[in-house]
Amino acid sequence: MEELLVLKHISKTFKQKEALKDITIQIKAGEILGFLGPSGSGKTTTIKIVTGQLQQTKGEATILGTDTRKITEKIYEQIGIVTDTSGVYEEFSVYDNLLVFAKVLNVSPKVIDQLLTTVGLIEQKKQLVSKLSKGQKQRLILARAVMHQPKLLFLDEPTSGLDPTTAAEIHKLLVSLKEAGMGIFLTTHNMEEATKLCDQVALLNEGYIVEFGTPEEICLRYNKQKEFRILLKNQERHVLKETTENLEQLSQWIVSEQIESLHSCEPTLETVFMTVTGRELV
């Protein structure tokens, strides 16, 4: 698969402070990479570097085969960016906000209605953007970013502050874009979102990648306790560690059909992050 974004040993220093240290990642077509970390861990700085808004202090970064320090309009034509600072023209309607970008990007205005239907804003088509809710504005920004069907999409906390229904709608859209072959770079501090959507995740803490892999791989790597949570039909609850004795007990319950439910207690990305860094993801 085509490598859309490659970062090799990227570091960024602001005056005395090292914001990013030795970041190495890559994104291929049809893949979602989650960049997870608390506020101030370097997520937005990374997006700014790879989109040419900032320059790294050390390391090499290429986007669609071009050095990120030399991004041209041709490259921007093939990427979409949604950040928490993406602006909209509040005094214009939803449709007009998209129309100007359609004209600039040489996209047929016919696409706009279809796009508005996809992001659930077709009923607000003629409404002024100033009248939209935060979630609706976020969906408008997302619609604008994917209008020209970019190869690579950057999303900086796309569901931050949104209600669960809107967030779920955005997740659905992202999965369909991924299936259509788009590469997606997603920063979030929502571990559930990352587990659900991402093919690969990088856990970022104070500018370092402290863990990298698929969400399952990372969780299994930290599954040292290997515990099982069991609910018996008589409503007794048990948490058993993986010992020979406990496994024998478990087999007996299975054979005698006493088990109502059985779960393995694997760590979540959140607990992994806390184990690795000693801090919470906020």
Binding site: K48, T51, G52, Q53, L54, E73, K74, Y76, E77, I81, T83, T85, S86, G87, V88, Y89, E90, E91, F92, D96, V100, F101, K103, V104, L105, N106, R144
Partner: protein
């Protein structure tokens, strides 16, 4: 840097719409003919005085150049920064040049249109105006003012800062030429200011349209050149939005 015709024209159309929806612009633009008409009405007794219509025309022209030509591009650029819409253009396939041209063209057209309106309502006869000289000078002066306005916008974080930063420029480029005929020192200073050259040109229409001298054209060219250089230097140093 290449200028894409379809992108630039789409942006210019959009900027025109944005400007014409903006209340601050509409009020500022309406104030230009409003003040000229008010002066004409209030001092109607002096209409027979030689040069009164030219004073009105000079006032209206300088006011258009400063309020619409300089102040508005400053606030519009600052607004795009404040509302994070500038970053969207800068991380799209729109080049800096295309963005700048799209901001410059509407203000240039609107400033020149306002000046034509000012001529009409100030009572100056069109046939007393040396049209080629007038168009050339007004074009250069408006262009210089717009570039300076964009420079102010570049240096301002938001619209409020842009308004504050514009005040000094307004004092120098509007008040000095407007009142230059009332004070010898102001007149001497005004001769070296691009808006002062425009005022001098208007005054010259009363003397059978005697054209400007070489020094005046040099002032216009050097001012435009310095404005472009200052803009380029600040732009290269900070970009549109310093991080």
């Amino acid at each position: 840097m290449m200028l894409s015709r379809h992108k630039t024209s789409a942006l210019i159309t959009f900027k025109f719409k944005e400007i014409l929806k903006n209340k601050t612009f509409l009020v500022s633009a309406a104030m230009v003919p409003g003040f000229v008409l008010m002066y004409r009405f209030l001092f109607s007794v002096d209409e027979t005085m030689p040069g009164f219509q030219l004073f009105l025309m000079n006032f209206g022209m300088s006011y258009s150049i400063i309020m619409v030509g300089m102040f508005m591009p400053a606030t519009f650029l600052a607004k795009d920064k404040e509302k994070n819409t500038l970053r969207i253009w800068m991380t799209s396939s729109v080049s800096s040049l295309e963005y700048l041209v799209s901001l410059m063209v509407p203000f240039l057209v609107l400033t020149m249109l306002l000046i034509v309106v000012v001529i009409g309502i100030s009572g100056v006869a069109f046939d007393s105006i040396n049209i080629p000289v007038f168009v050339l000078v007004v074009f250069l002066v408006a262009l210089t003012a717009i570039i300076l306005g964009m420079l102010i916008g570049l240096l301002s974080k938001n619209q409020m800062a842009a308004s504050n930063n514009s005040i000094l420029f307004m004092v120098v480029f509007f008040l000095i030429p407007t009142f230059s005929e009332m004070n010898q020192t102001l007149e001497e200073i005004s001769a070296f200011i691009f808006t002062g050259v425009a005022s001098k040109m208007v005054a010259s229409f009363g003397d059978d349209g005697s054209p400007l001298i070489l020094q005046d054209y040099l002032v216009l060219i050097v001012s435009a050149f310095l404005a472009v250089v200052a803009f380029m230097v600040i732009y290269r140093k900070n970009g549109f939005d310093k991080d």
